[in-house]
Subunit: 486 residues, 2 copies
């Protein structure tokens, strides 16, 4: 235990001796933050505002934002106003929309103007995009004309485009500068830039000519000219490029920042890696939501209202319920046949489930591979061939196990007289065809969607289940006719 005593961390967190972790318990950032937050709450309850203020300035802005989101709504704006101007803007950018709105409604115009000036343009655009119109009006009034113009310009880019997530605060250099001049420029203007580590070399007409990193600058001699140092083979994005393609570039090329250019190759903004991580989370969430038959929501689950959740979920549920009419019709039209062999009905849910699950596996694998750029629409044939072979292996294994299971479990153990060898053969053979069909459809529909320029994830598992449900039933009925001669 003694060895923990001189850890800086415990000093910062001011933990009591008995709060330090037992040896071997391990260090854990989360539990430190939790203890810290508890202490802030105590200070607040004791009204020790001076110490509270001092401690909040020491903390990471994200943790301060989390702390403020959790204290009750009446005291929150008051505590927020204890923060210094710089910290206030950082904490504000880390808030969700409801907290931002609450703050805006309880600070003065000049405080709001102060925050707006400290915010990066991309954060300001995010905030403006999520607030109700009357609040936006006040925010825009508080911004300087220059910021206001930038925000308006950025808001015009299509949603989820590179233009909509880029920011304007980057370091620009000229190719005739020396390393020494460049470092001097970074020192002069770097403070308010979203990144200084990647600098953008632009011509007089703002065309992007290359990039140079601070690493290059630091590792070169002072009198090296930027033109000799810069990388001209630059990975870039166009303003209208989809953010999913932007994040793929970051992952592929291990980028820290990506220049965004217009059609004349003029540099209009940059995207930084921290924003791209948010994009990746958001895109993955959207894909999962679509795969489960929901409309994508733009808010975290815990922040979404009941009616909004309902609105996101009911369209697919309704559509799928109505399209099950086909299955009903098939069942109704074969009622007489199924009455002859009533035992067949018992296996319909299993067959439909197996079809749905097989199709969902294939579609999920293909949708994810498409979205990661692992496969492309032109690979359609090889994908189907791959899925058909997998389906054959799966179908045979399932059919064999099912055949044995039906005869032993359903037939002998559960005394289901309807289960005879021909019936078991009918069900097992249907499985093979159903899995073959489900996996081909499940893999083809997303590729087809991509080819048509539609998001493949709308070919969601529920949709594929509904298609396979109807076809599974038809397969079952025709195999039964063939084998059982009914």
């Amino acid at each position: 235990m003694v060895k923990y005593l001189n850890l800086l961390y415990w000093e910062v967190f001011r933990l009591e001796e008995n709060e330090k972790p037992e040896q071997g318990e391990g260090l854990n950032y989360e539990s430190l933050v939790e203890k810290q937050t508890d202490q802030l709450e105590e200070l607040l309850d004791r009204h020790d505002m001076k110490e509270l203020q001092r401690r909040m300035e020491e903390l990471n802005e994200f943790d301060v934002a989390e702390f403020l989101s959790r204290i009750d709504d009446n005291r929150m704006p008051m505590v927020f106003r204890l923060l210094s101007k710089e910290t206030a803007a950082d904490v504000f950018a880390n808030f969700e929309a409801p907290e931002q709105e609450r703050i805006i409604n309880s600070i003065t115009d000049s405080e709001l103007a102060g925050i707006m000036e400290e915010l990066y343009v991309d954060d300001a655009v995010d905030i403006v995009g999520e607030l109700p119109a009357n609040v936006v009006k006040r925010v825009m009034r508080a911004a300087t004309p220059q910021t206001r113009n930038l925000i308006n310009q950025y808001l015009r880019y299509p949603e989820n485009s590179a233009g909509s997530i880029m920011t304007a605060e980057f370091v620009d250099l000229k190719k005739y500068m020396s390393v020494k001049e460049s470092i001097a420029r970074i020192r002069r203007i770097g403070e308010d830039k979203e990144t200084i580590y990647v600098c953008f070399v632009i011509a007089a007409d703002r065309r992007l000519e290359g990039i140079v990193t601070v690493k290059d600058l630091l590792l070169s001699s002072d009198d090296t000219i930027i033109e000799d140092l810069m990388e001209t083979n630059v990975v870039f994005a166009s303003t209208t490029e989809d953010q999913e393609s932007v994040s793929a570039k970051f992952a592929d090329y291990d980028l820290m920042a990506l220049p965004v250019v217009d059609n004349e190759r003029r540099l209009v903004g940059i995207v930084t890696v921290d924003d791209v991580m948010d994009v990746m989370e958001q895109e993955a969430t959207e894909d999962m939501e679509k795969l489960a038959g929901m409309l994508p929501s733009d808010k975290p689950y815990s922040r979404t209202g009941i009616v909004e959740i309902w609105k996101n979920r009911i369209p697919w549920l309704m559509f799928l319920m109505l399209s099950a009419t086909f299955t009903s019709m098939i069942l109704t039209s074969f009622e007489d046949m199924l009455a002859v062999q009533a035992g067949l009905v018992a296996f319909i849910p299993m067959l439909m489930g197996t079809g749905g699950n097989s199709g969902a596996q294939a579609s999920t694998a293909v949708i994810r591979a498409l979205s990661l750029g692992d496969i492309e629409p032109r690979d359609a044939l090889s994908v189907v061939w791959r899925e058909l072979r997998v389906a054959f292996l799966c179908g045979i294994a399932l059919a064999a196990v099912n055949f044995v299971k039906m005869l032993l479990l359903d037939g002998m153990l559960l005394h289901n007289d309807a289960v005879t060898v021909p019936v078991a053969a009918t069900v097992s053979m249907s499985i093979v065809f159903i899995v073959l069909f489900a996996k081909s459809v499940g893999s083809m529909l997303p590729i087809l969607a991509e080819k048509l320029g539609v998001d493949p994830a709308v070919m969601a598992n529920p949709l594929i289940s509904t298609v396979t449900d109807a076809v599974s039933l038809l397969i079952y009925i025709y195999v039964a006719k063939l084998i059982l001669h009914i």
Copy 2:
């Protein structure tokens, strides 16, 4: 068109006049790379190795790796050997395992040693983890004893832990250094570090005392002492921490690099943002695979063999097929009752589908919210209350539409005599209860899993469908008994 003539890009790519994009067509990095790759292939076909070599050195390593993966296997190693030692290592790190194996098997021991020395430890660990044992032996022999020890040490960390994705190449500073000394140190040792932008201040016993960024250094005066400049409130990870928690920290705190410490708070490695992007992609893919009832694969879809895909898919398919036995048993035991009202059978698939889809929506939303840290197991009650209200709204809407639809479409238009008002009421009322049940189960099972320390994503949609299938059927039968008195 003329305005494109002086773009540096076209010079690098050496595009012919007629290959330049039409005005307004837009700039697109992907199509530039494609043209470039075509030109490399032409050079290869013409055996112009000197020009090919020169052009590959100009390209981004990721694009070179992509180009090499696409040319045929016989010529690939030969072309790879044209690369300079530094580029070769970078390209090598960008390869997938099959290409890495091919290269290792066709270069000399000293060439391999050269690559190993240029690789970052985390890349070397990745490579060693994916290669067959006999190839690993040769790779380890080619590494220096120091690298070999590091690789062995890193391989001992649990899979998917912070320790398994960290790297050893970081800049360490002492707190008594001045800014000038620190910059001098970065210039001296920075070349081979994975990042120089975040520097780690450590004590003599390697305990982490703080971090300082190059931005801080550049914006401070030369004689500032690191101790006065460094941030002591450092976000860190422990070696055994799960990589999902690591990537959440990057997203929350907008980090570029994260220190990884052992139980005594000694700095053992760092995780950089480029590796975290790969982790985020991989974790999202795994969650999607689990949600669709597949075991997670560690390779891209297009690289996974048929048998391996089968092995990932068959366990859940088999388990779910067998668990459908319950549904069969329920159907069998109510055979007589269903025979009295044969028309009821036609709506079973729709009811089961609606239950499965409702449950999948809830479980996906909850699983994603859990994995993003938006909700925690202690929120269980509020989540269920939320889902019950949503379920009620969904159930009522679906039931109302279904009631009207059954009477108008099934009853009047399709002349299904079995559809009477009581039957429509039975089906509609069942929908309400089924949706209520499915949404509660769908939201509770993932939270329960999280509480038990199991990955919530194993409470996958197929599993929830199987549970709701059986219960939906029971609900339907009991509602039918109640309303139709059968």
